[in-house]
Amino acid sequence: MLCYTSLDILDIQWIWQFFSSGHTNNWAVLVCTSRFWFNYRHVANTLSVYRSVKRLGIPDSHIVLMLADDMACNHRNPKPATVFSHKNMELNVYGDDVEVDYRGYEVTVENFLRVLTGRLPPSTPRSKRLLSDDRSNILIYLTGHGGNGFLKFQDSEEISNVELADAFEQMWQKRRYNELLFIIDTCQGASMYERFYSPNIMALASSQVGEDSLSHQPDLAIGVHLMDRYTFYMLEFLEDIHPASKTNMNDLFKVCPKSQCVSTPGHRTDLFLRDPGSVLITDFFGSVRKVELTMDAINLTDPIKQMEEDPVNGEEQKEVYSYADQLPVSEIIHQKPKQKDWHPPDGFILGLWTLILLVFFKTYGIKHLKHIF
């Protein structure tokens, strides 16, 4: 208590702000739901957000990246192991250090909802789990083809806005997030956040209901559109952010006005408790670690005893090891006993007929014998 009196007002305000923002770790779930080469731009969208998020400090262990198809090593890609976001191949968002957690056919509605709610089979590895707690800020980014109230996964199934809202409610009830930022870049994206009802969710979409989100620019060498407009301008905005910047969410809402995007981006902040002007971009996109100081003493456990290496006891080991024969022909041939065809025991048929005749004559009498012979 004595230490407080020596601080001045500004320090006290800073300390209170420190304790009021609430989150201690950051997670990101980035999903691209489209398959096939002409949907290159959706993979580029997701990878550009991945790149920004990694650059601002969130490590791979805290990012769940789901890409429904492989564009980088696709045989149609004239530059393998690259995914470009700007034409003339200026920026390779795929990079050299990428870890995709769910890829190809694994990106399904079921897996996505299981990742969000944490209901995964016990043998799922850590890199495929969203191990968030009640002090985590989570960024969820979805891109693909969508419509009024649904998002299409891989051309074969859809997720509806009701399912998504219910998943977020499950997350809230299990205390799996502190604050959640939901960004969606699809056609009619605003319909996906209409049904949210859990607290502490802020949502952004690239277009309103009834509008299409458009793609930005094609590259003539690659032959497809490289990015969607909303994410392109968002990437340009994020490139100016660094881990210590104080830009807040109101600036993110202004990204891509109608003149640049053709569609009208929308946002929803009514479920969010804090004022968007006080929410920093790095609260969701970066991983600014907050340190809690403690004055308690902690007892260390007993030191790990170094295992005494047994002296190499060559004399005691009687067993000599050897390499197995790779193709032991004679052993293989004699492995299976030769299948002989099964014949019934000798005289079996004869005995069977004799029995039948005997029973017949016993029942009906010997006088029928003349009908047989």
């Binding site: 190809g104 170094q306 004399e315 090891y321 790779q326 293989i332």
Partner: protein, 587 residues
């Protein structure tokens, strides 16, 4: 600072190795006894072999040896060169041997010869478990899930529908006296893609990562722009010394690539490290006890075909794949290798284009014959190109359940005559549970083509079982052909002699033949696919018919009709008003 520490460790390691060779039992006490004696060793090598078509084959091998026991009760907690993630996998799942490979492209044996480490297209995983495992299938399932997280691949799609238990192939490559095949599992995913996301965790398993040594050359943009790329991890136990009473664990990470001359945009036939990898070598990995670069110059004894620069005086001969090959060696642990520029950019310039490739003795092809979407026939051809020797091959075929094989149509013919296999093992498939397994031991007559044919019928899947892109087709994994091929030179059977890594992968038991495993092409088969827009169309049509047909009938039956006077015109209405006022009946 790092170099000084590494030197001390290296000395201790070499002293330890020397002590082992001499056969002493007590560990050397060069290092004070409070620091545990490092019993692990790391070697790296790169073999470059120019191919006759102008392409070039580069094969990286990184080997970590560790003398420890993963199977004891107290968990191993101090990891140095051996990666912790793999060590934990070995001890948790009681793994005796693990082989996993990711390949993009198909190895063309007739143009490129035999590879040092063969691998099929897609992902392949085969594991031998220890005898102590009680439920092998459950352990296998958990192991595939864990490996899918380590390598960022969708290995969790390996389940009972694509796992088989070979009865004679895939004998353990490491030590072991018991070979009960119920502890072996083999699975392949032909559709699996390899990309940078698989290379990144693979590189992270190396002691030096991709920061020093040969691994700096592994840049994804060049590696995946190749005709063939394969990366693999092999874990097994090996003998420590010639007596073979103690074992140590060996982890080999191999990466094979074939770079195409025309694909990389070159006109002249000239290769350099920079052209292949867009990097040059600057130093060896400080944790490596040996770091070497081998160039195959067997076809170039006097330098008449191509010239190497910078020149090197170190030569080495090795017997590999049944042939004695000569190699120029660059030792990266020596400072002089890097010259005054402190970087090694090897340049190979061709002068003439003559020379013929030695025809590989064993070669196989596979294709699907037939037409339509109902039936078909799988043909597997095996070529024995030896002029007078015949040798046995073991053919392993694992066909998914949705291709229903008719085994009574199985025929094996060589040179037009029937060739009866001396061993056949067939496990029929069960719909949606397990695939077909066919293993045959066939003796291939000299200089002949052996054809194995079997007819099949395509199944119609349930509509939820189709992948999102069913019109691409369904893959059938490669056949595996294991064989003991006669060798032209005597193979070395002593396994602990000092020899380069690439020649010591498959253990050799006899001198006159060497073991080889080749993979055929995977097959792409179209299954009859329904029209997926059908339910929507049916609903629309049915609703329209119901609305129009039933609706009209309903209206006819339930509505009552009344006759209604039409509304009279304006003139008539005025006339009616006047008539009413006059008291006269209206019109």
């Amino acid at each position: 600072m790092l170099r000084w520490e590494a030197t001390e460790v290296k000395e201790a390691a070499t002293v330890d190795a020397a002590a082992d060779i001499q056969g002493t039992s007590a560990p050397e006490t060069v290092v004070p006894s409070s620091v545990p004696q490092p019993k692990d060793d790391f070697q790296e090598e790169l073999v470059i072999r120019p191919l006759h078509s102008g392409d070039i084959y580069a094969s990286f091998q990184f080997r970590t040896l560790w003398d420890t026991d993963f199977m004891r009760e107290n968990k191993v907690s101090h990891y140095r060169l051996f990666p912790k993630s793999l060590g934990q996998v070995i001890s948790k799942f009681s793994v005796r041997e693990l082989h996993i490979s990711f390949t993009q492209g198909y190895w063309r044996t007739m143009q490129w010869g035999q590879p040092f480490i063969p691998s099929p297209p897609g992902a392949e995983l085969w594991v031998w478990f220890q005898d102590s495992v009680t439920d092998v299938d459950a352990t296998w399932k958990e192991l595939t899930n864990v490996l899918s997280g380590i390598f960022c691949a969708s290995l969790n799609f390996i389940d009972s529908t694509n796992t088989v238990q070979p009865s004679a192939s895939f004998k353990p490559l490491g030590l072991g006296n018991v070979t009960d095949h119920s502890f072996l599992r083999y699975a392949t995913l032909p559709r699996e893609i390899v990309c940078t996301e698989n290379l990144t965790p693979w590189k992270k398993l190396l002691p030096c990562g991709s920061k020093a040594g040969l691994a700096v050359l592994l840049k994804s943009e060049k590696l995946f722009h190749s005709s063939f790329h394969s990366q693999a991890v092999h874990i097994r136990s090996v003998c420590q010394d010639w007596q073979c009473k103690t074992t140590s664990w060996e982890l080999r990470q191999t990466l094979n690539s074939v770079f195409d001359l025309h694909n990389s945009g070159q006109t002249k036939r000239e290769w350099s490290l920079f052209k292949m990898f867009s990097r040059t070598l600057t130093e060896a990995c400080p944790l490596a006890s040996s770091s070497k670069l081998y160039i195959d110059i067997t076809d170039n004894p006097q330098g008449e075909q191509f010239e190497l620069s910078p020149a090197t005086s170190l030569l080495s001969q090795a017997v590999v794949l049944g042939d004695r090959r000569t190699f120029s060696v660059y030792d990266l642990t020596q400072e002089t290798t890097f010259g005054t520029v402190r970087s090694l950019n090897l340049l190979i310039r061709w002068k003439s284009n003559e020379g013929e490739m030695l025809r590989p003795l064993l070669h196989a092809e596979r294709y699907v014959a037939g037409y339509g979407l109902q039936t078909g026939e799988i043909h597997t051809l095996m070529y024995n190109n030896h002029p007078y020797r015949s040798f046995p091959v073991l053919l392993l075929d694992s066909v998914p359940w949705y291709l229903r094989l008719y085994i009574h149509t199985l025929s094996v013919t060589s040179k037009g005559k029937d060739n009866k296999p001396s061993y056949i093992h067939y496990e029929p498939s069960k719909d949606r549970v397990k695939p077909h397994l066919l293993e045959m031991l066939i003796q291939l007559p000299p200089n002949s083509v052996t054809e194995v044919t079997v007819q099949f019928e395509r199944a119609l899947l349930k509509w939820t079982e189709y992948p999102p892109d069913p019109n691409h087709g369904f893959y059938v994994g490669s056949s595996v052909i294991s064989s003991l091929v006669p060798s032209t030179v005597a193979m070395h059977t002593n396994s602990t002699r000092e020899r380069p890594l690439f020649s010591s992968f498959f253990p050799c038991k006899e001198e006159s033949s060497y073991f080889v495993r080749i993979y055929t092409e995977p097959l792409l088969v179209n299954l009859p696919t329904p029209d997926f827009s059908m339910p929507y169309n049916v609903i629309c049509l049915t609703c329209t018919v119901v609305a129009v047909g039933y609706g009209s009938l309903y209206n006819l039956l339930t509505r009552s009709f009344q006759i209604e006077e039409p509304n009279p015109g304006l003139a008539k209405r005025i006339a009616n008003v006047i008539r009413r006022m006059r008291g006269v009946p209206p019109l």
